[in-house]
């Protein structure tokens, strides 16, 4: 038996005690494989694993497992995302077997955005199981070698199990307990929602550390650089569960014309440096939304390059 649960690069980097740095890549809204390869290419060598989103914001895109396989062929390690919105427990388990068979070793388990916010609001959602139960399903399949019905699996899939956590959503006091439940359900690593309110995140991490959660699970802090004041305002007002302090919007505005994006990157780099020092934070998850080409520069300036080879 290997010393690793799944043996992914991300798991090895974290287990060796390195500060992890993960990225994100949204599959194309079509079969444009060249675009996917181009976006992923920017991340090569800059991150330990790349999250491949699953019809994010309930908008139809190339399936996350298929895009994950493309990344694998391109020499990147995917962190395959799966949402509960579009699949029942049969499809979920068969897709888990499928991706493992093709060499995928990380999987992020999510409930998924409601279809109301996407481009097929007339669709029927599934939500046969929720994200907590999905995490536990992957763990049961891996560690017990059993399907949800208790039947034995002929060669169980071994995946490094990821979960998401939103430290800013309501009710705030319950958030850390929900994180604890996800860890108990089987999460090996957690990536948080984009962080902008550092005070609140410090408080959240303090509570997580007090509960010893950082010793049971790797916690990666979510960072999304602001590209514009408009984006900051949109995030503040339109995205549920997102908290953008007025002071940050003011700071971006103060940067002046043509310099807002640079100020956004500066703030992101300051955040990364603080997370490196913050107790309980094991890494950063950089979600540079439709900004993959800026990731090498951000990684370079944040001083996280070269990535460790374990």
């Amino acid at each position: 038996m290997s010393e690793y649960k799944a043996g992914s690069n991300l798991e090895k980097v974290l287990k060796a005690g390195h500060f992890a740095f993960t990225g994100e890549c949204g599959p194309p809204q079509g079969a444009n494989i060249e675009l996917l390869k181009e976006k992923a290419g920017h991340l090569k060598g800059c991150v330990d694993a790349v999250n491949v989103t699953d019809n994010q914001t309930a908008v139809v895109r190339m399936s996350s497992w298929a895009a994950s396989l493309v990344l694998l062929q391109e020499g990147l390690e995917p962190n395959f995302q799966m949402v509960c919105r579009d699949r029942n427990r049969l499809a979920i388990q068969s897709d888990i077997l499928g991706v493992y068979t093709h060499g995928i070793r990380n999987m992020l388990c999510l409930s998924g955005d409601h279809q109301k916010f996407g481009d097929h609001p007339e669709s029927k959602n599934v939500f046969d199981i929720d994200s907590m139960q999905l995490i536990n399903t992957v763990k049961t399949m891996r560690d017990d070698g059993k399907f949800l019905n208790g039947k034995d699996i002929d060669v169980p899939p071994r995946l490094f199990i990821g979960a998401a956590s939103n430290p800013f959503a309501e009710p705030f006091d319950f958030r850390v307990y929900r994180l604890a439940k996800k860890i108990e359900a089987g999460a090996d690593f957690v990536q948080t929602q984009c962080i902008y309110n550092m005070d609140r995140f410090r408080e959240f991490m303090k509570r997580a550390v007090d509960m010893g959660l950082h010793e049971k699970c790797y916690l990666l802090a979510g960072v999304t650089p602001m590209k514009s004041v408009g984006m900051a305002r949109y995030m503040a007002k339109q995205v549920p569960g997102m908290e953008v302090p007025e002071s940050l919007i003011k700071r971006l505005k103060g940067a002046g014309k043509g310099k807002v994006a640079e100020e956004g990157i500066k703030f992101a780099i300051e955040q990364i440096h603080e997370f490196e020092e913050m107790e309980g934070v094991a890494g950063v998850h950089l979600m540079a939304i439709e900004w993959e080409h800026r990731v090498p520069e951000i990684a370079e300036r944040a001083g996280v390059l070269p990535r460790p080879q374990v």
Binding site: E170, P171, Y177, A185
Partner: protein, 222 residues
Amino acid sequence: MITAEQKPIDEIRNMIAPYKRILALGCGSCVAECAAGGEKETAMLASALRMAAKINGEEVIIEEKTIDRQCVNEFVIPLDDIMEKYDAVLSLGCGAGVQAVADMFPEVPVIPALNTEFMGETKDQGYWVESCIGCGDCMLYYFGGVCPLTRCAKHLLNGPCGGSMDGRCEVDPDVPCAWQLIIDRLSRFGALDRLEKIYPPKDWSKKEGCGPRKIVREDQQK
């Protein structure tokens, strides 16, 4: 209660167009409570249809009658005495009522006048909300009397998701976040520990495992 709303009048007129002698049949139970298919609504719909027919010069007889419950056979059977007068029934019952009447009178077309909506509560005058999906295995005890399977848009048994704002659901800000209500209520009763457990995937076989469900109770059978 089963809630319903009346279909648009044009849709109803299209469906009844081939028939000349129509019985508009109301139902005095759930759909009367939600002001969709009771005696009053049946009279109003029949009157509106007669008026529309007259304006368009159509020769059609539309009479109305309301029975206590279309979904219970013993209330439907007495219609046998009058049914030969009609060539179609326009039912203002819920989907169950329409089908029960149709089942009783196989030779007569039974047309639905309502869109059946949900099982719910009357919150206020003219305001009804969905509160039960009839899952067949009630979990209300664990969630402080608030059903997340019905009232959470994602049906989460291990919520809340990250989307609620000011205690409202992200999907519809008019709707309270079920998980906020659950946490508030369990806190009030000192029973928040019920949420420490990770609730396993729901056993949906009790809801839709064998197609349409039935209850058979020998102690109730004669």
